[in-house]
């Protein structure tokens, strides 16, 4: 059912944990759907120098969190913002169709953490693009 990469990131997740006094924190998901991701950011000179996550969810949720943190670590905040759920899923060699929402959660959690960082810095927040095509099934949960 899962690719080897998904299983690897599920069994040995990278960047698990918390950051004390983070520059940004964001959360996405809902216990109703069975997955919640929380992302902590350390930003220095507009570069994400450290990132940690905690995730409640299935294997693909944990693997998506792990992969997403790897993909944005060392990137600029804007580059991190532009990380798409599709890129996370592709880096994991794909997710089963019913699990695609897990990769969206990773993207949403990172966006939430970045906007929290921007708010802390007194910067205007960036606008989230919607994922209606994938979330129609999910919409009543995420509202």
């Amino acid at each position: 059912m899962y690719s080897e990469k998904v299983l690897d990131h599920f069994q040995n997740p990278r960047n698990v944990g918390e950051i004390e006094n983070p520059d940004g924190v964001g959360q996405a998901g809902n216990p109703k759907c069975g997955d919640i991701m929380k992302i902590y950011l350390r930003v220095e000179n507009d570069i994400i120098t450290d990132i940690k996550f905690k995730t409640f969810g299935c294997a693909s949720a944990i693997a998506s969190s792990s992969m997403a943190t790897e993909l944005v670590k060392g990137k600029t905040v804007e580059e991190a913002w532009n990380l798409t759920n599709r890129a996370v899923a592709e880096a994991l060699d794909g997710l089963p169709p019913v699990k695609m929402h897990c990769s969206i959660l990773a993207e949403e959690a990172i966006h939430a953490a970045i906007n929290n960082y921007r708010r802390n810095k007194g910067l205007p927040v960036w606008e989230e693009e919607s994922h209606e095509e994938l979330l129609h099934h999910h919409a009543h949960h995420h509202g």
């Binding site: 698990v16 997955d35 919640i36 905690k54 995730t55 409640f56 299935c58 294997a59």
Partner: protein
């Protein structure tokens, strides 16, 4: 080979070697169609009659009240649709519960879409139907009550005798899905006033693809499978002779050792439950206490972790269980049974069902007790819900 511990007997059991050897001749030398009148088919007819007799005995029925089917799902479909259609002129209310297996639940929903007035009863927090709720739901248009004998997820045994007595007094047909209970705990269809009862062979070490519906003598329900005159004209299709023989042999073996097996399995299950409740704090046991649930069923919710994660970690350790989490089912909603007993979404997503069986040993249980706490601890450490939960204490 690394250790393998199969704890999903409620999903299915292996077919016991004695059952397989009883079945074998009916694939090869004794292949005759039981409907053919020549003597070559006598052996097959006799084998089916014996299997019918054995199946009947285990539930206190007579042989002519047993109709073989393709399994539990067909028996449930036949019972509900057949009883509903047959009694359409008498009334249209059907009463069932929120904790039925999908074979009953989805059939009842189908009937509701087709003009029947279906009531789904709530259950108490241990998963038991309350008699007062049933009595309140009954009206003079009620034709059928269907309540699972013992639930497949949480194992709670229902007050079947009380429900049966009430239905009989009120002239309402009573069906019970006994797929998890038959040949595991004592059933007496006469004493319990059961009119229709479903069972499946692969839950008691028989083959997959065969089951039975008990239809009490005198009870008429519409046919489900139309065709030839098999099963006294009530269920068409050439008999699955080997399967039926296997079911007969399996139920005979299972009933012969029911008392001893249920005592042994209850002891191991209690050891598992006590061990987990002790070594994994902040865990909920779902379902009823020992003695009021199926001997082989344990169902837990671990606060802060999700069931699929748990299953995959256990799988790596060679332990096979199941979960009511949505993630394992491909839908986004967790188990309807766990929601019906009032669990929060988080707890329903964090459930683990372990069901024991004939080959489960004390060493297996010890292995689970050594393995599971570490897995739970590791996954909790990376869960934001667990973090929130600890803060809320």
């Amino acid at each position: 080979m690394s250790r393998q511990v199969y704890l999903d007997y409620a999903a299915t059991s292996f077919t016991s070697p004695e059952v397989v050897s009883a079945m074998m001749p009916y694939f090869t030398e004794a292949f005759g169609n039981p409907s053919s009148i020549y003597s070559f088919s006598d052996r097959n007819r006799k084998a089916i009659a014996e299997a019918r007799q054995k199946t009947a005995e285990v539930i206190g029925a007579s042989a002519d009240e047993i109709f073989f089917t393709s399994g539990g799902t067909e028996a449930d479909n036949w019972a509900l649709k057949g009883a509903a259609e047959r009694n359409r002129t008498k009334g249209n209310r059907i009463i069932t519960t929120r904790i039925e297996h999908h074979a009953v639940l989805h059939t009842a929903e189908y009937l509701a879409k087709n003009g029947f007035d279906v009531v789904f009863l709530d259950v108490d927090p241990e998963g038991r139907v309350r008699m007062e709720d049933l009595k309140k739901a009954v009206n003079d248009r009620t034709i059928l009550v269907s309540v699972v004998f013992a639930n497949n997820e949480i194992g709670t045994i229902q007050p079947v005798s009380a429900i049966g007595a009430f239905c009989r007094e009120n002239g309402i047909l009573f069906h019970t899905d006994a797929v998890q209970a038959a040949a595991h705990i004592p059933i007496d269809v006469k004493a319990m006033n059961i009119d229709l009862l479903s069972m499946a062979a692969h839950k008691f070490y028989g083959p997959k693809g065969v089951g039975a519906l008990y239809i009490r003598k005198g009870v008429r329900i519409d046919n489900f499978m139309h065709g030839g005159g098999q099963e006294k004209g009530r269920r068409a299709t050439t008999e699955n002779v080997a399967g039926i023989v296997g079911m007969g042999r399996a139920i005979e073996l299972a009933s012969g050792r029911m008392k001893e097996a249920s005592a042994r399995i209850t002891r191991l299950r209690d050891m598992l439950v006590d061990g987990i409740m002790k070594s994994v704090p902040h865990t909920k046991l779902n379902g009823a206490p020992s003695g009021e649930r199926l001997p082989n069923n344990a169902n837990f919710s671990f606060i802060g972790i999700e069931g699929e994660t748990l299953l995959l970690d256990l799988d790596r350790a060679g332990i096979y269980g199941s979960t009511g989490s949505a993630c394992s089912s491909g839908s986004l909603d967790p188990s309807h049974v766990l929601m019906a007993i009032g669990l929060s979404h988080e707890l329903a997503h964090g459930s683990l069902r372990l069901t024991l069986g004939e080959e489960t040993t004390e060493d297996d249980i010890k292995y689970v007790l050594e393995t599971l706490p570490g897995i739970v601890e590791r996954r909790r450490a990376m869960s934001p819900l667990w973090e929130d939960y600890l803060k809320s204490l």
